[in-house]
């Protein structure tokens, strides 16, 4: 035993090393924010960076991240609207832009839409202090997560959306996070409060105007009150050298409905951890697509928690892995004792386009109630020969047929995106990446 220990490399305090280069933020004028930070800083003292020996990280090696150092950006961005025009969506109600983690009011607007609040954290603290204090950092799902704790420990600003009771916002709210500086470390934060009976669509969008390495560490909290309906579109189209480690916690109230589509197509290493807690009669549909090539790694962990009876959850997660890329999916669905009449279906479908690509998928179902309907399954495969033949028999070459089918495999998820112009942008990107031209 002692020999084995000796053979292991000495334990390195990766978290300490990362923190050493990070000056703590200046004291906030709001006690609630300071309290949250202190709580998180204390929590960090008991946490460590995950390694391959941690079950939840066994396929995702953070070593490339630890070889680099990152610095927070404090200066306000000088970007002009024209610089981010390629990412503009023409059908949104409001847009909030953060550049390297710093709010960019000159790129954002309009401030609010009717009664709906779409703003930065300082403004929200002034106008909705009580709600902010009650809800910010309130998701227990984020408790023992080192990256979420890091985000909170460095909490400066946040994108805040509040949709008042029974208000229906038809056009999407666009939260755009732009990376521009090499080596930047940012901790984007989103808080979305959908009050009783309200409806909205949120687009959370990570983009880059650079090819260098940087680290983005977002935390998103969504609170859906009873009967609220939120559609959440999340797009990670970070730069090719980026590291993206994201956590999202969603609380879905009684008879509320949460639908999300998350797409991971950028970054050299990305991780998305989504936790959804369902109340009585609540519904969620959680879909995802990872489109990977080169030596990219994308890891999606999801946890759907049926805590009350009559909940419904649907999940379709797809990965397309080309080149040397590596896709990881771990989807857990838990049905708690008493969550009778739960209806849950989960499917993980994976397409390997290269002999060197790798997919690790692990659907997990834990049921502690006896009157439920739950299914789950996973497939990993190559393109279906019958499908290729069908297209060839209609005049397409083998190569064109394969490209079209690859596109189609991903398009099934992209199709579910409620924001038209974003859907278009992603379809075009997929067409370019798969080389298809339907």
């Amino acid at each position: 035993m002692s020999t084995e220990t000796a053979l292991r490399p000495p334990t390195v305090d990766r978290l300490g090393a990362l923190l050493a280069s990070q000056p703590l933020p200046e004291s906030s004028p709001w006690a609630a924010v300071n309290a949250l930070r202190e709580q998180a800083q204390t929590a960090l003292g008991a946490l460590a960076m995950p390694t391959l020996r941690d079950e939840a990280w066994r396929f995702t090696d953070l070593a490339p991240l630890h070889r680099l150092t990152f610095q927070p950006v404090v200066a306000a961005s000088r970007l002009q609207p024209a610089d981010i025009a390629p990412f503009a969506l023409d059908d949104t109600a409001c847009r909030l832009v953060f550049v390297d983690g710093v709010y960019a009011p000159q790129l954002s607007g309009p401030a609010n839409e009717g009664e709906v609040v779409v703003t930065d954290l300082p403004t929200a603290m002034d106008t909705h202090g009580a709600a902010m204090k009650a809800q910010l950092g309130s998701q227990q799902a984020l408790g023992d997560n080192v990256f979420a704790a890091l985000n909170t420990a460095f909490l400066q600003d946040a994108a805040v959306v509040v949709v008042p009771r029974d208000v229906v916002l038809t056009a999407p709210v666009h939260l755009l996070f732009v990376a521009t500086q090499a080596g930047a470390l940012s901790h984007p934060r989103c808080l979305v409060l959908a009050e009783t009976g309200s409806r909205m669509t949120l687009v959370e969008d990570y983009v880059a105007l650079q090819d260098a390495a940087y680290l983005v560490n977002p935390v998103t909290e969504l609170v859906l009150s009873d009967h609220a309906q939120v559609t959440h579109v999340r797009v990670q189209r970070d730069g090719p050298q980026a590291f993206h480690i994201a956590n999202c916690a969603v609380s879905v109230g009684r008879s509320a409905n949460y639908r999300s589509v998350s797409v991971a197509m950028g970054a050299q290493l990305s991780r998305y951890h989504l936790q959804v807690v369902l109340g009585e009669g609540a519904e969620c549909a959680v879909d995802g697509l990872a489109l990977l090539a080169g030596s990219q790694l994308a890891d999606t962990h999801s946890f759907i928690d049926h805590r009350q009876p009559h909940g419904t959850s649907r999940q379709l997660h797809k990965c397309i892995a080309d080149g040397n890329s590596h896709a990881v999916f771990n989807g857990k669905v838990v049905v708690r004792p008493g969550a009778q009449h739960t209806d849950s279906a989960q499917s993980s479908r994976n397409l390997l386009l290269s002999g060197r690509a790798q997919v690790d998928t692990q659907p997990q179902l834990e049921i502690f109630a006896d009157d439920v309907k739950c299914t789950h399954g996973a497939t990993i495969g190559q393109l279906d020969a019958e499908e290729v033949f069908y297209l060839q028999s209609r005049g397409l070459t083998d190569s064109a047929a394969r490209k079209l089918l690859t596109y189609a495999f991903g398009a099934e998820i992209i199709e579910r995106i409620a924001a038209g112009s974003l859907k278009n942008q992603l379809q075009q990107r997929m067409l370019a990446q798969t080389g298809s031209h339907p």
Binding site: E387, Q392, S393, R394, A400, L404, A411, P438
Partner: protein, 269 residues
Amino acid sequence: MINPNSPVLLEVHGLCASVNGIDILKGLDLTVRRGEVHAIMGPNGSGKSTFAKVLAGHTAYEVTAGTVHFEGQDLLSLPPEARALAGMFLGFQYPIEIPGVANSQFLRLSYNTLQAQRGREELDPLEFDDFVREKMKLLEMSPDFLDRSVNEGFSGGEKKRNEILQMALLEPRLAILDETDSGLDIDALRIVSQGVNQLITPNNAVVLVTHYQRLLNYIVPDFVHVMEAGRIIKTGKKELALELEKRGYDWVGAEHAAAGGARTREVSA
């Protein structure tokens, strides 16, 4: 329409094919001329669908002997897409669903691919929309089918109509329709058959692969062939189909064996 002077479209000689090492086709002969409608009938497992797929170039089937010429060209040396370009069309027994690709996209891509390779004008989405809607009327298809994903959630009958729609768009010289009648109710059968009938000209030909005579009430064949154990063992006119409907297939096999069928097989293989 039978015209012995009409040019030969398809000439199959002694065709043998296997899948996973199992011989399915064992010396099949068939000649199809322009303007003709052929029906290939036969019991399950006789090799009808295999024959259709081998003609279209499915790579799972290995051709072990024999020749196939299409308008004088060696068909077996061509990949499936080149066969489509040459004017061959296979209507699938089980059309493939392609979620994520709109039917209109797929139809236009297929149409334009062949148009471009034939040196003809491609159509932009708007032009194609007008063009395809005209063709859809032929099959009493709702325009909704353009916006839905290819065959996804289509009923059996809707999938078959979509196959014939593709035939109408691609205007093949030879259409092989593999059990186009299966899964159709009586109204859908009538509509699909009328669609096919309107596409038949003196310049093209249709080979219907079917189990049942009822399709042939709507699309009247010039020749009816009976397949058994990988070969065509009897050829007749449309009346043969009625006789098969009444008497089944067993008597054909018995008659063939009595006439020295085994010897014929050796010669042709």
